[in-house]
């Protein structure tokens, strides 16, 4: 059975309030910029995916602390957002490519579009979503 990536290089928790989204985005942008990890996707895409995952975490478990981690594997970087609440992510997704003016449902579609793959884990009442980004090939 698949499980969360065991090794993480960035690990921070934030209050489950939208006011923490900007600090979390900045922390991750700065960490990636200062690290020697080169992802193939633009860093703006990684930060966008993070913002969407945090929005979902806060929506699923408002007021609960959420955790942001980065796992670095040989060929990919995993962006992991975990909400400590027992709620699961909302499944409804009104947005479709045929219904682009829907009121909601774009968040996870954006994550899927900018990342290479997305996985969801539920353990011990916590929900984690991992967006994977391939590392850039060495020059």
């Amino acid at each position: 059975m698949a499980s969360l990536p065991p090794s993480t290089r960035f690990d921070a928790t934030y209050e489950g309030d939208t006011s923490t989204m900007n600090p979390a985005r900045c922390d991750v942008r700065s960490w990636i910029g200062a690290s020697n990890v080169a992802v193939s996707a633009p860093i703006d895409d990684v930060v966008l995916a993070l913002s969407e995952l945090i929005s979902n975490a806060i929506e699923a478990a408002p007021g609960c602390i959420y955790r942001v981690r980065i796992s670095v594997e040989a060929d990919r970087l995993g962006l992991i957002v975990t909400n400590d609440g027992t709620s699961v992510l909302p499944e409804s997704s009104q947005w479709t490519p045929e219904n682009v003016l829907a009121s909601s449902g774009r968040g996870l579609a954006i994550v899927a579009a900018v990342s290479d793959s997305v996985e969801t884990f539920t353990e011990g009442g916590a929900t984690s979503v991992v967006a994977w980004f391939l590392q850039a090939a060495p020059e």
Partner: protein, 112 residues
């Protein structure tokens, strides 16, 4: 160090903000970040200008938009649909345009 990282470092402890100022007749300038924290207030303020004439909002100083920001723009865009007038977004940067493109909104929004 690139400008985004410098700006980020200076703002790292701050919640996101967005301002919407009147810069001309039916012309607004948005400055800041449009995310879950700012979208509702932005939407309410943008909608408050009404739909009886075209409305232009300059996004050249908006550094980030996520799906919550898109929802706000879509909501106000829809207010204009029963009319012959338009909400136009001008000057969106490359990162913001990418979000419009990813979600297909580039085909629906009036962009300049």
């Amino acid at each position: 160090m690139d400008q985004k990282r410098l700006r980020c470092r200076a703002m790292t402890d701050r919640a996101s903000r967005i301002t919407l100022e009147i810069t001309g007749e039916r012309t607004l300038g948005a400055v800041g970040v449009l995310d879950s924290h700012t979208a509702d207030e932005f939407e309410a303020r943008l909608a408050s200008f009404g739909t009886e004439q075209d409305l232009l909002v300059d996004f050249s100083e908006v550094s980030f938009v996520d799906s919550s920001g898109l929802r706000a723009l879509v909501t106000v865009h829809k207010l204009f649909e029963p009319t012959t007038n338009h909400l136009t977004v001008r000057g969106a940067n490359r990162a913001v345009m990418r979000v419009f493109e990813l979600t297909g909104l580039v085909e629906h929004f009036h962009l300049a």
